[in-house]
Each structure stands twice: as C-alpha cells, then as structure tokens.
Symmetry: C2
Subunit: 414 residues, 2 copies
C-alpha cells in the first residue's frame, strides 16, 4: 500500500481520536483538524467524560513517544473556510475523514438555539469541505461519518444508501428515503444530500458511513492513560450502553426509556476504525457517493439492559432495570432490519458484543467510579416539551405519514 495522507477532521473526539491512532499504526500519514469545541461544550453544560482525557497536544506527544509516529495538528473550525482551506493546502490530504460535527441528538433538541446551531454548523462545515475539495483537492476522497439514525425505523428493510424502486411499470435506483428522529440526525441527512450533489456535479468522490451507536475502546486507546478515549455517560452526549455500565457500577437502576423495544444498530470502536480504513482503501470512482452501513449488530434498548444486567450480576453487582418516561418521540416497538454487507464484503472482521466487552466496560466504570456524577445521568431534554400538556394525541403513535390517497381525498372544509 502506498503511504497516504489522511486529514481527520474532528480527530479529538471519541471516534476521531481512535481513528487517527489506528491509521497512524497502519502507516498512514495522519493530521488532525479540530476546533476542540466538544471540550468546551462539556464545560459549558456541566458534564464530563468518565475517563479523564488529557489535552490534544499531550495526547499527540504521548503517541509520538509510544509509536515513534508524528500526527500533525490543526486547531481550526471547519465552519471557518479560510482556516480549513489553509490546512488543506498545507497538508494536501489524499483522504479527508470528516467526524467534525455536533453529534448528539439530545444536544440538538435542547432548544431552538441548539437546533439551529447544530444544523447550520454541521451543514456549513460539510459544504466548506466540499468546496475546499473542489478548489484545492479535487482528487481527494471524502469519508464522511453519517449515522444509521438517518433512516429512522421504516417498515421495510434498510438498504445501504440506495434502493431499487419498481413503480407503475418503471424502475430506478434512488436514494433510500430517510426519516431521521432529531434535528441532529436531520443535519446528517442534509449533509448526505449535499455530498451526493457535489459528487454528481463536480466529479468528487465520497463515502458516506451510516454508523451505528459505537461502544468500547480501540487497541490504541486502551491501556495508556494519556491515550485514553473519552467515555460519555451523561444525558446529553452519553450513549445507552455506557450509561447502563455506569449505572450498574454505582448501584443506580439501569434506566430504560419507554418500553425499550427501540431497536438500533451497534458497533465496537475497533470495528469503527477498521471500517474507516477499509473505506479509505476503497474509494469510489470520481462522481460517485458510495454509502456503507457501518454497524455489526442490532439490539433493542431492553435487550442491552438485560445483557448488562446479566454480566454485572455475575460480577457480584446487584443491578435493577427501571422503565422511565421516554423523553424522545419515537416508536417503541417496530420492525428493524438493516443491511450491512458492504463493509463485510470489503473484509471487515466484526468484534461482536461479547460478555467480555461488557466486562471491559464495567472494569473501566469501576476504575473511574469516583468520577461518576449521578446528576449527569438523567436525560433532561424533552423532544416535545409541554406537548402532553397541550393535549397532543399523536405522540408515540407510529409516525403519522400521509399516504397519497388519503390526502387526495381530504374533503373540502370551507
């Protein structure tokens, strides 16, 4: 493999940091571009990662000591085109891996300001990267992190980005219809649409990775305290498996929102970094947006709670499971069957969610138990604040989609 230059945008984050180190291990030239805003948001929202993480400069220095490899650092905001363009001109990447977005659904649902900020910052950052590629790096490959949450929970199988539709005797392969469930997830759909267009008109090449919920550590981030990855368990940025592990360790009930039948896609961080590398090594032809679904397994929220309950009990803990009112508006029982064959066909060897993985997460939670702040666990952000008080009746019902026939037959009301 020819040595290649990869710019990891958002390389100070959970997935970005692990990806940067993994690519560096494999012999890629790696640079990180990050505005460090996530650390600032932690501070301004009174939350913190369970695991202590050191400043990015110390992380990179530790990696250099340990591996002998250099990672270049650009402290810059993708929303600032001038700074982004200077970095791309200076570094001349062959691949841009783009994790640099506001990535939390609850954060985007706090209020109007957070919704608008999430969409404008994410959309602007991705547009800036596309224009920078057009003008400064037209041969580069954009590997963009999307989310499985873009698809929602349709009543048919979820394909990888596109679906063949037969309709009235004709057929076409079209973008898979999306039904995202938060203003954050919507921002990723907007990005996907913008990237697809830019590929089509400018001949750019891009890979959209619709990723499931990520858990665990990578080989590079585990072990060394200066390389340690963040572990979010709070109500804003925390993920469900992290939260359950922390709850089990501190003797807090495993809190299942609603019925717990919400089924989602999941992936081990070791597989995330492998998938990103497989994508880098397999760019599409110019003009094409290829879409991979990046996950290895599907679980319902209740299944995950039961898994953690079982493993924790075996360790001598005494966890309980408690259903709480669901702050989100979402289906709590639904069909869910998503395809993930593309990355497997490229060679991904999945790390499935084994008891040992949950044990490792519980180990981590126990090691940093003193840092747990119970006040951070609850999800205070309501998808529909005050809606029940207003008597809205359709919430939590299956998504109210209007079939063409019924709208056409709406009686005149005048």
């Amino acid at each position: 493999m020819a040595k290649k230059r990869v710019l990891v945008v958002g390389g100070d984050g959970y997935c970005g940091w692990a990806t940067a180190l993994h690519l560096s291990t494999l012999g890629y030239d790696v640079a990180i571009l990050d505005n460090l805003i996530r650390r600032h948001w932690d501070a301004t929202h009174g939350i913190d990662t369970l695991t202590p993480i050191v400043p990015i400069e110390r992380r990179i220095a530790a990696w250099q000591r340990k591996s002998g490899r250099t990672i270049e650092l650009f402290i810059a905001d993708v929303a600032d085109y001038g700074a982004l363009a200077r970095a791309i001109e200076a570094y001349a990447p062959d691949t841009i891996v783009h994790f640099g977005e506001q990535r939390s659904a609850p954060f985007s649902m706090i209020d109007r300001e957070h919704a608008v900020m999430t969409q404008t910052v994410n959309v602007t950052g991705t547009l800036n990267i596309l224009f920078a590629m057009r003008d400064l790096a037209p041969e580069a490959h954009l590997v963009k992190l999307g989310t499985m949450g873009e698809y929602g929970t349709p009543n048919i199988d979820i394909e990888e980005g596109y679906i063949e539709i037969q309709h009235n005797g004709r057929r076409d392969v079209l973008p898979y219809p999306k039904q995202p469930g938060s203003f954050y997830h919507l921002s990723k759909v907007h990005d996907s649409d913008n990237i697809s267009f830019a590929c089509r008109i400018w001949g750019l090449r891009a890979t959209d990775l619709n990723q499931g919920v990520v858990y665990g550590n990578s080989d590079e981030t585990a072990g060394d305290p200066e390389l340690l990855n963040r572990f979010d368990y709070d109500g804003l940025f925390g993920t469900v498996l992290n939260r359950f592990c922390v709850e089990a360790v501190v003797g807090y009930p495993l809190t299942v929102h609603g019925a717990g039948g919400q089924t989602r896609s999941f992936i081990d961080l070791r597989d995330t970094v492998a998938c990103v590398e497989l994508s880098i090594a397999n760019p599409p032809d110019p003009g094409r947006l290829q879409v991979f679904n990046q996950f290895t397994e599907q679980f319902s929220v209740l299944e995950l709670a039961e898994r953690v309950h079982r493993v924790a009990t075996r360790r001598g803990l005494t966890p309980t499971i408690e259903h709480r009112e669901n702050p989100r508006v979402e289906r709590e029982a639904h069909y869910y069957n998503a395809k993930n064959t593309s990355l497997l066909a490229l060679g991904l060897q999945p790390h499935l969610l084994e008891d040992a993985t949950i044990d490792a997460m519980l180990d981590l939670a126990e090691r940093y138990r003193d840092r747990v702040d119970l006040a951070q666990i609850a999800s205070h952000v309501q998808w529909a604040p005050g809606a029940r008080a207003r008597g809205a009746s359709n919430l939590h019902a299956p998504a109210p989609i209007v079939p063409p026939d019924s709208t056409n037959l709406t009686p005149l009301r005048r």
Copy 2:
C-alpha cells in the same frame, strides 16, 4: 367561511405579493412579513425587474385605496427569531404562508458564500417558524413553498411527497426520494425534512407545496402600475419563459441551454394563488405534513422556446432559437411524469399556458422594452466551474448513482 388571519412571509416577492392580494380579495385578514432582501440583492447584483415595482409601503397603500382592505406590514427577517416571534405574537395568525426564502438556483451556485448563505438562511428561517409555531401558535397551519425541483428527474413517476414501496415482501409509505439539482433546491429538501419531523414530534400541521416554475400575473397584480408584480428575466433570478419573451421582443435569440430536452413543471400565477388558498382552506390534521405538487403542465425547455417563437412570429416579430452551452449539470433528455391530482381534487381550475398568456407576457415585455438590459440576460453562473478543464468525464451523463450491488462488489484496491 370564517374570516381567517394569514401571515404571508416573503409577501413582497413575486408569488408572495400576488398571494397576499388574492387572499385579501377573498376576505382573509392578511399581514406581510418581509425583510426586503430581494430588492437589496437586485441592487447588489446589478439586476432589475423588467416591470418597475414601487416600495412595499406604496404597494400596500395602493391596495387599500383600490380595495378598501388593509394589509398589515412587518419589516422583519425570519432568521431573526426575536423579530419573527414578536410579529407572530402581535398578529396571531391562523395560517403562516412561507415564501420567505432565497429562491434562485443560479444565485445559490455563484460561489461557496452564496451556497452556504442560501442553505443557512433558508433552513434557519424555516426552523425559526417551526419553533415559533410550537411555542406561540401551535394550532396554526404552515403552508410552505417548496419546489418541484426537489424531486429531480427520476426514471419513475413523481408522486406527491410520499411513495408506497414494496420491498423484500414488506411495504411502507415513505417520503419520496429526492435528487435536487442545486444548493437552493437542496435547501428546500432540508426544509421539507425538518418540517416533517416537527409535525411528527410536536403535533404541528403543515402543507408542503412543491411548486413548478411560475409565470404571468394574477388578476390583482395586473393592470394597476402600483400593484404591478416583478418580472425577472435576468440570468440570476429570471425564469425561462420570461427570458424567452424578453428575448423575442428585443430581437435577441431565444437561448436554449443545452439540448433543451430538460422537462419541468409549470404553473400560471393565477393558479399559484388559488392553490395557496385551497391549501389554507384544507389544513391537514395535527401531526401531519401533507404534500401537494403545485403545477398544471409539463414542458421541455425547447417546447417552450418553440411556443414563444410561434406566438412572437404571429405578432410580426422575427425570433430565432439558439442553443447555448448549458451552465448547469443536469440531464438534457430524461423521463418526466409528475402527479398533480391533489389540488385538482380540491377544486383547482387550471389556467393552461395558452397563446393568449404568452401574448400577454409579450405585451408586457414590449411595454417595458426600454427597461431591458441585454447584459442581464446571460447566465454567467456555472454549476461546475473549471470542471471540464480538469477533465471530469461524468458531467452531463445520467446521474451517477451507485446501485447497492455494485458498491458491495467493489474489489479491494490495496
């Protein structure tokens, strides 16, 4: 019909002004909210409407003198939430008709700044309206102007917003897949996705009107010089039929971009205002986004040129048709069959594009012939500037969509 209060956002524009007057005629209470930015963009881009339009305050005063009806005016920007919220609190609309967006594809393609501005301004404005409705007017009905251009040119029939998909033995009714052709059209897709979500989680009601290209004047805007509507023929905001009419009158070739097989949907402004009123009178249930395709006929660009050529020749003019290089990246020959039955079922009586309509447009072009600025006619905005020079080969080919099968089988390249 109970008298209803309608806030027309963007009511100083071509469709918005005609809609405000038509609703006022029908007995609705009407207010206009507009930031007048379009008049500013005309100035800053060195363009002007063929027809002279008077300031909004004089327009509204003229309407009051003529009709005896008052239209309230809010000079405000929907991107400024405080100003928008104050207007909604003060006016308490039953319906918000939202035309208040940057609505030109070439304008959005000028450069990065215009692309980012178009998407952030349009998306933010619509998000602001949705949050204002949630908090200040939850029973109101949003009538949002979208565009038929959201759909692109799929190889199957275009339905109205949703499509039933049979897949692997299951079925669902899902949002119709969109393939918009500019950063402007993309912004409308982003809006549609955001509105659909807001209806679902907050129980709001909205109607998305996917409108074709509009031409002509309404009954209210024709005749009185102070009520006269704008007539855009320039390369940024002008529409194809307006441009052909001006070209025919001044003896400039009717300029067809590319082969001219590009087929689009069209609608007479008299039908636009009728469709908006039908939508206002027929709101969906709370929690629902209903989608209507708002057009009456389909024409290819070349067909339109030939129509104008024929009518102009009959008037003694000597028009010619000339094919120019297409500044856009789009299919120039394609299947196109879009449904428009919903508004017909609600009672729309279409004004089809008759020779008399073209004659009226040619009359207008002749009346204001002295105001024609030939320098404004050309479309200088390239969809892919420099792309041919870079040797991109896929431009103008059918949209390069990656079928799932072929991406899955991409060979390893390492």
